[in-house]
Each structure stands twice: as structure tokens, then as C-alpha cells.
Symmetry: D3
Subunit: 263 residues, 6 copies
């Protein structure tokens, strides 16, 4: 029940904007956030709601999922100048990050789909602490999926789990059971009972023969791979159902700039 | 008054760890977080406090500011296995980010000090929303400073402020007054009344003559530059007092890995 | 990131315990929470942590999942008397509810397993607002499962969704896709593409022939039924994989009583 | 300062509505919450405020305290379909509970007033953790009163207090002093100094003679009874001023159903 | 469920203690908070708990309710120096306020009891926003009572209520009913049905005859007066049961000073 | 990210307004808050926003910084009567405090400026816990400045810091470095390296010669004095740049009164 934008604003402004107060700036104005790069718009609705909650009028913005070009104004609002100055930095930083994630996700999805039109690209849980909500949303806007949104929504039996398990459990669950086998043997053993196998450290060439072998043990089995470089995405996409990646979260934020003017 | 680690844990575990419950894992174990890269330890005390609050014992950890090498265990804790599994991912992700920031900051500071032993490297406010507290702390551990921690701690008259100002104000304040002039003329005009000038879009060569000219107008004047590439740091460091950078926040997280074992 | 026990205590004690202050009660004492009924212990660890956080010593308690009999002391703690009086009511009410849920869940599971040893009993999302965390936990302790812990962990295409859908979507997802068909025809149509069908308003007799027909269309299909009376559980359990129920949340709280004595 | 509806929504939707996103549902629609049972409307204003805060329009609703019949639509709203799907379940569950409490309270009050038109029916503090605010409000809407809303609003000297008291205190206070005597003798002793006596474990027949005896010792004394069955309410009501009950909180939630349609 | 000391610390330290970090202060030390005035200790346990939560050891402190003299050390703690510097200011300010309230309350109570040993001195709800919890506690420690801790714990029919009332209600309640009559006539009318009358703007001489007249109409009636000067307390105390005052909240904070030394 | 007005309202109304509910007050009305004293309006916009958030209409209010006279209505709102009664007390108390702070600040500033038109009056961090945000804002509205808003916005090397320092640090920082010397010698030593000296326990006569001596060591040095009586303000103002005071926070709240009427 935390209001994340309130948190982000409190981070940036625990006691007021010393500069704007010092300069005694008053009256009304306009902010235009412009991109210096091509990108995909994300979470514009969330930013707009935050502006409205602070009494500003959102004049124009690119829609979530739409692409924009260098020098496009992607968000424009107007109203009380001191409020605009207060929201400026966190707005621009916020958009620079979420639009970058959406852009990078879309790029990865498109690349992967070239070699496998059915591939799903899913991002990991390695989000920036305190920012997951919008990072996950930006991924979906970019056409990606979430591998897991949290520990509470999915079952992934990792190598660490396998290392400490002492008893066998019945692998039936309301959720898909995904297993990350430690060895080739373990993969073959898990294939008949898992819904998804998450494979690590295999080359595309190895997967070319190994995946059909695994599928032959369980026609419903789905195969995921994790931890691969962007440059290898299309090579891997051919052989699997899911590509799990962290890269979009760590993509360089887009280069945005803001102009504030009096009205 | 938010407990950030509680927030980060809630992000990752709103309803319990489905996997560990599903596998009926019980008993005690140990987690070792290892780095695959060289780096600088940061915020280890914060992570340790979080582990202790959750009833785990911290067995060993690298001290804040100390460097570690590939394959070093940087954090080790033990106790209830289900709790270890619950904290695993956010711990590893947390350290991968803050240690990366400390590492990148230290690298930048050392580089800058080679050409100017008195230079201060200060990071911007473009932090990841919800994570500023630890990003700022990691910067200090890495030997950097904060340009501004928030809108409430400093006065920075930006170009946007200059564009909307309608009245002159007396430039006396409890804080240093920093001005970001729009033009060379404005820089010359501001020099006698500012405490700091923040210069943008000047080459090191231009600064070589311009900075002395500015300082001649105000012997106490300090000069900052922002928005420069890492490769140019040592060129700029020679001419100014402060280098303002965002790069450490966006450095690639360190490559860490965790081993969980039963005890 | 809310601390639920703090919330529960604040609900019951926004400004201190007027009675204990009025009576000027001081010194140390002991509380014993006793059950007048047979039941299953749940969330004892959570209550114990709350007591410890408030400086009390937990002397004895029944373990989660263990059964207790009428007149058994199920929780005993000691320490500062005013603190004991402050925690008394919410402790007793809390245990009366979660132990009741665990008891009712176990009873239902045992009943269902008599006719189908592989049946899973899963509870719905109709929890009491503000109390879901512990209601869900008590269900698991009682041997049940969660149909869905939230909107964010599962895909359930309800009749309302079917009524408003305008476009076909590809039914592939990281999660199992569960469909609640509106008609027999829709069930037959959904069977080949769904992971789970949630059937409503069928008699056990109807299911006896209908379920095999559905399974013949998809050997991996799982069948759930919802909204059935406790008395019918064993009749339904024979034919399906999952029984979805809300009853444990609304079971009458156990009849507990507390004795507080000076030490 | 917690926003309870935000808490309830976060419980049910920490990361978005997977189903509605998966089905790519967009556009506008309408939700109608209908009751399959007779009942009393409660907290409709609170639900309406929550809908409005989420940008939906409340088209129609029964007023707090009004009765409704089977098949009546008790709440109707319209707007963004994905938002409607997000609020659906918690709205319906919320109303099913608070309307049930108001209904059960009204029924109990009416029953009690038949034998004593001046009787007050007051509910206990045994509310569901996290839900007290609305449970208490529903009781008032149903015509009941609160025995105590919290430890901070009243003085009730329970048997446990009497067991640990070591010193006599002056029984003057800004609040009424209510005592729960352990024995008949203690009741007689407390009668002259208490404002209210809370009697437990007496039959109506015993009260018929005992209450007048107590009142004769203090003409301002008020008598409350607690822990009685609904079936005995009218027998007890004749003899006392207050009936204290927990039953409305644990009444079975009303059977409500929701229809969502595209507009 | 807010942790008030966390709030107070966040107010004073949103991003760390710039000075102590700047000076690179490390190691262990000791803080001694000393009073330059006579006073009554209050909320020492709360401050001590806050210190302990922050890892410091509380070496010595005056007990709640005990008096101290000029130059007495009233609170002493030791541990990590940077933590001591972080807590210093809010600790000292906190104690300067709550001890002042306890002192002023005790002084007023003692003064009032000289002329009426049974008088109760109760403070109003005009507390400093955000600080009520401890202001109320300090009043009790000083021997005072709370007129009302909040709108939710008492019934006070003020003159504003009387001005807008349109219907008569039955004046029976679980709480005492206190009425603030607008006129002498209204006082006479309310006396038989009220539990407490709150009188304003009467001189002690007027009360000398008026109060007996009111009591003759209702032997259980209690009389309160509000809004009187400290100098008049003993004159009023003779005639009434309760004196309602705001003065302790606005008493000048005690003059405290802190010494921090390395150990 | 706390909503302070929600906190203040929760302090005063955890469970509803017992009186207004008891009296069954309904319908619409108007509240007028009137001052019995001359004063300066402060934080009116914040109170207005709170009223609007609660569905009330603000009809009229004095603007921040404007002066008002005895009997002036300074705030007037209308709408739902029960809501008005709920907000009444905290509104009136809030304004009585912040307007008092603004008034006292303005008075002090005007007094100081008579003897030194360039003087800055800055208030300390000794605010009431939980109320700093508005106390600081009221100071600025009154024409004052903040000595420090928190530990995170400034560097003040106090006598306690000097007592524990073990190593010399380079006194360069992004912020002004303010030092509070323990002795005359230390002041002379600090003058060349500090930005500001904070002097304590000097008479105006002593400062008359000492300040020029200090300034001669550092032409940019600024001088602050703290802990002086209001009566001495103009004597000190002549010799220094900043006067640091706590007095406005502890000024007696203005005497306000509220009239609520039905419409």
C-alpha cells in the first residue's frame, strides 16, 4: 500500500525545493520532456497520474508502447511553476529508465522472434530494489514477459534447492513446476515430471540435439534458457520456448532532457 | 520512516516463498555470496542488519570499502534454511549493485586524482527511484561525494531556473549558491556572486583558459563540470574543483553468485 | 512492508491500555492461552515473534500443525504485566481464527482424501481484508493449498472475462492457464487449450461422465470444482484434481480463553 | 494513517492482474454486484470512494442502513474494464462481510428490543485483525454499539485484572468504570463503586433476582451481560442494559455475485 | 502502526549525518544529557528503547516520574559515535519537551490538590500534531489525566454541536456523556441528563453557588471547568471535579544540554 | 512518503467521532476559524488541500504571509457536517501553531533588520517531533530561514564534534563548513578555514571587536550567533550575518476559535 511516486518524491524532496524557494519563483509554466534518442514509451500513464495528483495538467504525452524519435517531446505538462520544478528531475529520470527498459525489451523480443516467432522473452527478478513495479510493467509494455514477479507467484527449483533437498515431494501444484537441473543426467531425470526445464551453460549447438531428446520424454515439456548474451539471443531462440534475461533492467537510461518555460 | 529492506523483501515476497514451501525444505543451512569479479564492498553492514533482523547469523563479510577479488566469498550467513532462501535473491542483487557503484566510483576518483589530487567526484540525483539511500551511501564508500542528495539540501540555479526568473534575488544563503550559466557571458556575470559555477559543454581546452578568467573575478569561486565521459575525466580534472557524474549508478552490476548448503 | 502485528496492535491500542494504567498494574506475570476445543495450531511462530519483539518471553507453545485437545494450554508467555494485558486480546483472537482455519482445512483435506488420495484442496481469495497473509498461511499449515494468493500469481479466465473478451489471445504463458467455462460446450472447446478447467454447478454424477470426456481431449488437463458444500466434498473429490473452497476462512473461531497471573 | 483500501488492494494485487493483462482486455465496462440474499447495506460510501479514487464512476448503490432483497443490484459502477477486474473480487468480498455484519446486528437488536425497548446491543473487540475499522462501522449501521473500540477508549476491569491487582485504586475516572466480577460476592462488593457490571455465566432466571439486588446498591448502576447465544438474547434483554456479543463479526458473509459487461 | 521514533529520526536525518561523515568520525563514545533545570523525568523508557534499537547501550537514566535537579545527568548512553551524533539532537529535544510537560503537569496537579485533594487535572486535545502519543504519556507521568485522547474515546457535546443539533437523542451511551452548555439555563437543563458538565467563562465565585445548584439536580453529576489560567487553578479546584487545561503542552521545554565524549 | 495530515487526523480520530455519531448529526454546514489576536497566516494552502481531500469546499482563507487582525475569520469552509466536526479540532490547533510561528518569526526578523538590514534570522532544528515540515515552512513564510533543515543538508562542526575528533580532515566540501569553536583561540584558528563561525556566549560588546578581528583573517567569513534572547536580537544583529534562534517554535499558539453552523 505504498504510493511509490510519493516515495520517489520524498527521496528527492524531503523538505522542499531550496532553489526555487530561494529564487522566489512563482507563477505558471510548462515542462517539456524531450528524448535525444529513439525509444519506446512506458509508464506514461503512471507519471501522468502523479502530475495530476500534484495539480498539474498533462498536455500531451506519447502512449505506452508507442515509439518516439530523437527530438520528440514525449511528455508535456503545465501549471504551477514551483511544482513543476519539484517534479522535474524525478520525472525525467523515471522516464529515462522505464522507456529504456521497454525499448531494450522490444529490441530483444524482435530479435528473438526472427528465429522463432513463438519465443517468449521473460525478464528475471534482478530488478533495482524499490523500483520493481515499474520495471516489470515496462517489460510487458515492451512485449516481454516476467519469468517470475516474486517468490510468491511461481515454483522454480534451483540448483541451490536441489543441493539441500532431503525428501522427495510430489511434483503436483497449482502452478507450473520449473526445474533448473545441475547436470545433463538431472535434466533427463527431471524432464518427465517438470513443466519447464531451465537450462544454463549449454551452447546452442548442444541444445540442438539435447532439447529434442528432453522433449521426447515429455511432449508437454517447455524449455527455458537463462543467462545468455544479447548477441546470442537469436541462436538460442530457435531451440527453446523461453529466454530469460536481465539485460533490459540494466540498459543505459535513455538520454532525455527537459525544458521549463514560463507561460 | 520506511524500512527499505522490508520494502525490498515485500517486493520479492508478498506471500511467502512458493518453491521452498512446495519442496517442504526445513532445517538449517548456510549461504555464501561469492563474486566473480574484482570489486569494492559497500553497504555490507546494512545487509548484515537485515539478516540479523530475520534471525540469521552473519558469519563473515568483507568490510565496507575493502576490495575483493574474483572468487572471494564476500558475505556468508547461516541459520534457518527457508529464511535463507527467502533473502537470497534480493541480497545478491543488492550487493551486485551497491558494490558495483562503489567500485566504479573508486575507479573514477582514482583516475581523476591522478591529474588533480584535490579533485572531488560527486554523483548526481539521477538514482534509481526507491534505491537512492543505498546508491548514495555506496558512492561515499567508493570515495565520491554527492552533488546534491535532494532538492532540500542545496541551491543549484539551473538553466531552466534562469529561463523563468523574473526578479533578481539577493544571492546570500546559508548554503553555497551554485549556478549553471547558459552562456559564456552569463558565466562571467555570475562568477563574482556565485560560490560554484557548474559548466557544461566546454572542452578541456576551453576550460584551460576560461576557468582562470572566471577565478580572477572571484578568488573563492569553485568550478564544477557535469556530463562528461569517463574517458575524459582526467582531462577535465586538471581544470576544475568538482566533477559531477551519473555513471556509477548505471554501471553494470557485479557478477555475483550464491551457494546455499545444508549444515 | 507493513508490519501486520503492529497494525493489529494499533487497531486495538491507539493510545495505551486505559484499564491497566488506571489500575496502576505493574510487575511481572504470565499469560496462558488455553483452548476449550480440539484444534490444529497455526501461526504460533508469528505470535511468538510478536511477543518477543515486545520484550516478553515465550515459555511454551504448540508447534504449527500439531493438534491440541480441550483444556490444553497452547501458548504461554511471561514478562511485564502491562505488556501482557496489552497483547492479550489480539493474541487470543488471532489464534482463535488461524487455528480454526487450520483445523477446518485439515478436516476437509482428510475427508476429501478418503475418496481421492491425490486430491488437492485449495482455498479461494475471499479472505478477510487485512488478514490474508495469516489466513493463507493457516491453510497451508492445515494441509491445503491456495487456489490463487492474488491477482498477480495466476491466470484464471472467469465467466466475466469470457463475457467481455473481444479478441483471441494465444494461450501460452509462464503460468498454467485456468478457464471457467460458462457452458458445457465452452468446456469442451477449452479443454484442449487449457491447463485447468474450473467447473461450477455440476453434480458429482454429471462429472462422472463429463470429466473423462474432457480429459480425453487433453491428457494433461486438470479439473477443479468450486463452490461446493462440505457435505459434498467426498462425492466431488473422486472426479477432480482440485477442490476450491472458501469455507475455512469463515469457520467459527475456536473457543479460547486466557489466564493472566502475577509471578 | 494507513489507507485500508490500498492495503486490501495490495493484498489482492501486488503486481497487477495477470489474467486481464494476459487476455489483453481493454475498453470500458460496467460491474453490477448483486445479492442472492436479503440484507442491510453497509460501508457503501467507503467502497464508492475507493472506486472513485481509482477513476471509476459509481452509477448506483444502496444507501447505508437500507435493506435489500434477493436479486437486488446493490452496487453498480462503470469505467475502465481492467480497473473493474482489478477491484472486483475485493469489492464483492468486502460488501459480503460488512453487509452481513450490519444485517446480523440489526436482527439481534430487533430481537432484543422486543423484550426490552431500551436495550443496547454492543459488539466486542474480537474483530478480524486488519478489518476492525469497517466491522465496527457496520455494527453501528446495523443499530448496534461498540462495547469498546479499543483498549484506549474505555475501562473494563476484567477477571484477569482482579486476579493480579495488588493495590486498591480510587475508582474515579473520566470514563465509566466497568467491572467483570469473578463471583457473586465480588459483584455485590463492586456494585456501589462501578458504573457498569459485566456479568457472565448467569442464567436469565438468576439475573431476574440478582440484578434488582445489585441495582438497589447503586441506582445509577448499569448491567451488561456477555457471551450469550443468539437464541437467548430476548430472555436476557429483559434484565439488563447492555448485551455484549461477538456474533455479528462471525456471521456467514452474504452470498453476493458480480456481473461485468462491456459497454 | 507508525514507528514514531523512526519518523522523528527521518525528519532529522533523511540521508545521513553530513557532518560526522565529513569529519570521518569513527569509534565509540558516550553521550550524557544533562538538565540545567529542575524537572520530572518522562518517556525515558521510550527513548531508551530507541537507543537500544539503534545498537547503543543505555548506561543510566532517571526513572519516569522521578524528579531531577539542575546539573543532573538524566540520560547516559554509549556505543558507536556516529550513531550517537545521529540521535543526539532529537533525543535532547524530545526529553526537553516531555519532561517539561510532566513537570508542568505535576506542578499544576499539586497546586490544585492543595485546595481540593480529589481534583483531577486533565489535559486537552490541543497537542502538537505528530507528537500526541508522548505528550499524553508525559501528562499521565506527571499525575494528570487526559480529558479526551481522541474523538473516538469520549462524548463531549460542545457548543458547536448544540448549535447544529436538529433532533433530540437518547443520552444513554457506553461512555459518560459530557455537555458544554452555552448558557446558565442550558446548564440547568442538561444537569439531570449529563454525566459531566463542562463549564466555561464562570468565575470561582459564580461556581461557588452554581455548582451546588447543579449537583442538587443530579447527585452523580460531575463538573469540569476549562480554559483557566494557572494562577486561578487553586481557586477553581475547590468547586469542581475536573480541571481541563492545555498549558502543559505549551510550557517552555526544559533547558537540557548534551556532552559527547570519546571512550 | 507519509501524509502528515492523515497522521494528524489518525491521532485525533482512530475510530470515528463518537460525539457526532452519538448525536446523529447529519447534513451540511460551515466552519469559520477566527483569530482573537493579530497574526501572520501560514500553511493555509496545506490545510485547504486537506479539507478538499476530505470533500469539503474552502470558501475563504487568508493567504500565506498576509497579516490578520483580532476577530478576522482566517479560514472558512463548508460541506458535510460530520466531516467538519471531524476536522475541526486539528485544523484549529494546526493554524494556532503555524500562524504563531510565522508571526513570531516576522516580528524577530523585523526587529533584527532595524539594526542590520542584511541580517538573516534562521531557526534551529529543535522542532516538535512529527511537526517539523510545517514548522519549517511557517518560518520561511514569516521571513526567516532554516539554520539546518536536517543533519543531511549542512555541515556544522559543533563543540561535541571538536571534542571527539582525532584526525584532521580537509575542510573542502560541496556545502559551507560551519564551525562552533569552543574558545576564542579556536575561533581565531578556525576563521581562515571555515565558511561560517557559530559563536555562543559572547556579549554584543565582545562581538563588536572580535568579529572584525575574525573577518580580517578571512574576508569571506560569515558569522552566526545562537542562543540569544529576543530582547537582545537588535543588539546582536549589528555585528553578525546570521542569528540562530529556536524561539518561534515555542511561541504561544495564537488564540483561535471556531464556529460551526448548519447551512
Amino acid at each position: 500500500m505504498i504510493d511509490f511516486f510519493d516515495l520517489y518524491l520524498t527521496e528527492d524532496c524531503p523538505y522542499g525545493d531550496e532553489t526555487t524557494e530561494f529564487l522566489e519563483i512563482e507563477g505558471n509554466g510548462r515542462i517539456r520532456i524531450k528524448s535525444r534518442e529513439h525509444g519506446v514509451a512506458a509508464c506514461m500513464d503512471d507519471l501522468a497520474a502523479f502530475y495530476r495528483k500534484n495539480g498539474l495538467e498533462v498536455v500531451n504525452m506519447v502512449s505506452n508502447g508507442d515509439e518516439f524519435n530523437p527530438n520528440d517531446v514525449i511528455f508535456e505538462a503545465q501549471g504551477d511553476l514551483p511544482t513543476i520544478f519539484k517534479l522535474w528531475r524525478i520525472s525525467q529520470t523515471f522516464l529515462s529508465m522505464v522507456c529504456s527498459i521497454a525499448s531494450k525489451t522490444r529490441f530483444t523480443v524482435e530479435l528473438a522472434r526472427k528465429s522463432n516467432p513463438d519465443i517468449m522473452v521473460a525478464t528475471s527478478r534482478k530488478t533495482h530494489p524499490g523500483f520493481r513495479k515499474y520495471e516489470l510493467k515496462a517489460v510487458k509494455i515492451g512485449g516481454g514477459d516476467h519469468h517470475r514477479n516474486s517468490l510468491s507467484d511461481s515454483i522454480l527449483v534451483t540448483q541451490n534447492h536441489l543441493d539441500v533437498m532431503e525428501k522427495q515431494v510430489n511434483l503436483r501444484a497449482m502452478r507450473k513446476v520449473e526445474i533448473e537441473p545441475r547436470t545433463r543426467e538431472e535434466a533427463l531425470e527431471a524432464a518427465p515430471v517438470a513443466d519447464i526445464l531451465l537450462l544454463d551453460h549449454y551452447s546452442p549447438e548442444e541444445l540442438e540435439t539435447f532439447v529434442p531428446e528432453l522433449r521426447s520424454l515429455n511432449p508437454h515439456l517447455e524449455i527455458a534458457v537463462g543467462g545468455i548474451e544479447l548477441s546470442m539471443v537469436s541462436d538460442y531462440a530457435k531451440h527453446v520456448d523461453f529466454i530469460v534475461t536481465t539485460a533490459p533492467y540494466y540498459a543505459k537510461p535513455l538520454d532525455l532532457t527537459s525544458k521549463i518555460r514560463r507561460m
